[in-house]
Amino acid sequence: MTRPAWVLDTGALIAYAAGDERVGMVLADAADLDVRVAIPVICLVEAYRELDHDEHELLGPLRANSAVVLAPVEVIAGGDSAPIIGAMARMTGRLGAAHAVYTAMAAGAAVVREGRGLLGGGWVHRQLGLELPILR
């Protein structure tokens, strides 16, 4: 499987459910180029938490998209991502954002976030000092 080119954070998932054009375009691009888009599992759970119950079904077609792959929290020997994700979340206050950044760094991918989003205030740059590409 090819490495994902983009990672959708919690805000991007919520934006997708609202028909956000930028997120839709990322998914159309991924389908046209036969590349993958990763959804960190923690972001998916956070999105379900933020969406109303009757909006949950909107994420179904996204999860069924053949370009989309779910990124778990790996707890394998020598590749345990939980301590790093937890440490980032301690600094930023959001588990999903930390998982999105970890996934992007594992994949060498850009993060797609919703503009007003749950990553909040540019913490990826400000607090972690990371210059990862972020599509807002």
Binding site: M1, T2, R3, P4, A5, W6, Y16, A17, A18, G19, E21, G24, M25, L27, A28, D29, A30, A31, D32, L33, D34, V35, L58, P61, L62, A64, N65, S66, A67, V69, A71, P72, E74, I76, G78, G79, D80, S81, I84, A87, M88, M91, V101, Y102, A104, M105, A106, A107, G108, A109, A110, Q127, L128, G129, L130, E131, L132, P133, L135
Partner: protein
Amino acid sequence: MTTRQTISFPDDVATALADVPSGQVSAYVTEAVRRRIQSDAARVALRAAGHREFPFDPVASAGRLADAAVSADVHRAAVDRLAAAVGGDREDLAARLGRSAEAAGW
């Protein structure tokens, strides 16, 4: 199971197909059609979720993908900064990231 069909192509496509070894033309066309089916299916799902229509434009898509690409230098610097931010060893972090990608099949 396969079906034999006779189809017509514009000249530019026919020229491109002429460069494909004769025994591989069907596979070449099949792959192209399957990729288009994948694109169309993605758009059906997007419309179902209330998204607008996105034109099929692989050249523009490739440009946006290139704009989002993470260079090796940027990635290396990000690993350095993240290791410093979380108080971890840089090589240990790089190894964890690599194993996570490997476990995910990337």
